[in-house]
Amino acid sequence: MTQEELTTLEVTKSVDARGTSCPGPLLAAKKAMGEINSGDVLEVLSADEGTKKDIPKWATKKKHEYLGTVEESGFFKIFVKKG
């Protein structure tokens, strides 16, 4: 997805994991994913740069679809569609 598409994406659930470090954002994403339905979009906010690489790996393993990352000042918005 392009950056523009990502910023206008309809998000079902957003989880703010900026107050945690690895593996905190992953745990937050796992928990939030359990609360939404297949096809819903989850947004993960993380200040940890590693999460950018971790979430796509996790998504692939869990058969979710990684949509992309938007970089804000000092944190990242990572979008994943539940599989």
Binding site: C22, P23, K30
Partner: protein
């Protein structure tokens, strides 16, 4: 007479299924060190794997088992002199672990803990609690328990705590897709 294509396919399919079934999505880990830094690595990997829905089995052996002791002051009764000495000199619980380098009589350890807090890294206590919630199994090596003279009543309360020997580790490691020694 050589096999028909169907027969060969069938054999291949059987072999493929065998291979696919032989390795579970499981991580087995030997934790031997009682260094704070190594223990931190062990628990971050364990919790991360559990977050990815990988089954995690940790085997605590030798020095590492003292990290799973309660922080109680009194030692269990019925110990000989060596066991008492081990009991006194080794760390009691995760909070008493030292850094493998730059510990500087505990100054380095406190500095690291401060930096970890500043960077929102979970403490070992928090990681252990999360591991428990996520169903990470911990087995303690009974042979090491006997060597150090530790008793079961001296060990922490953890939801998935067990006691086992090397065969349990080997059997679990054999069916795991990942094995680590820390």
């Amino acid at each position: 007479m050589s096999d028909t294509v169907e027969q060969r396919l069938e054999k291949l399919e059987k072999k493929f299924n065998e291979l696919e079934d032989s390795r579970k999505d499981q991580l087995t880990m030997v934790v031997m060190s009682d260094d704070l830094d190594k223990m931190l690595a062990a628990f971050i990997i364990a919790v991360g794997a559990a977050a990815m829905d990988t089954k995690v089995k940790m085997f605590f052996t030798f020095w590492a088992i003292s990290a799973l002791r309660k922080e109680q002051v009194k030692q269990a009764k019925g110990k000989d002199l060596t066991a008492k000495m081990f009991g006194t000199m080794l760390p009691k619980g995760l909070r008493q672990l030292k850094l493998s380098k730059m510990n500087m009589e505990g100054i380095g350890k406190h500095m690291i803990k401060g930096i970890m807090k500043h960077n929102n890294v979970s403490s070992l206590d928090e990681l252990l609690a999360t591991a428990g919630e996520l169903g990470v199994d911990i087995d303690i090596c009974t042979m090491s328990m006997d060597l150090m003279g530790f008793k079961k009543e001296e060990m922490i309360d953890y939801p998935n705590l067990g006691y086992a020997g090397v065969a349990t580790f080997l059997a679990d490691a054999g069916e795991s897709s990942m094995q680590l020694f820390i």
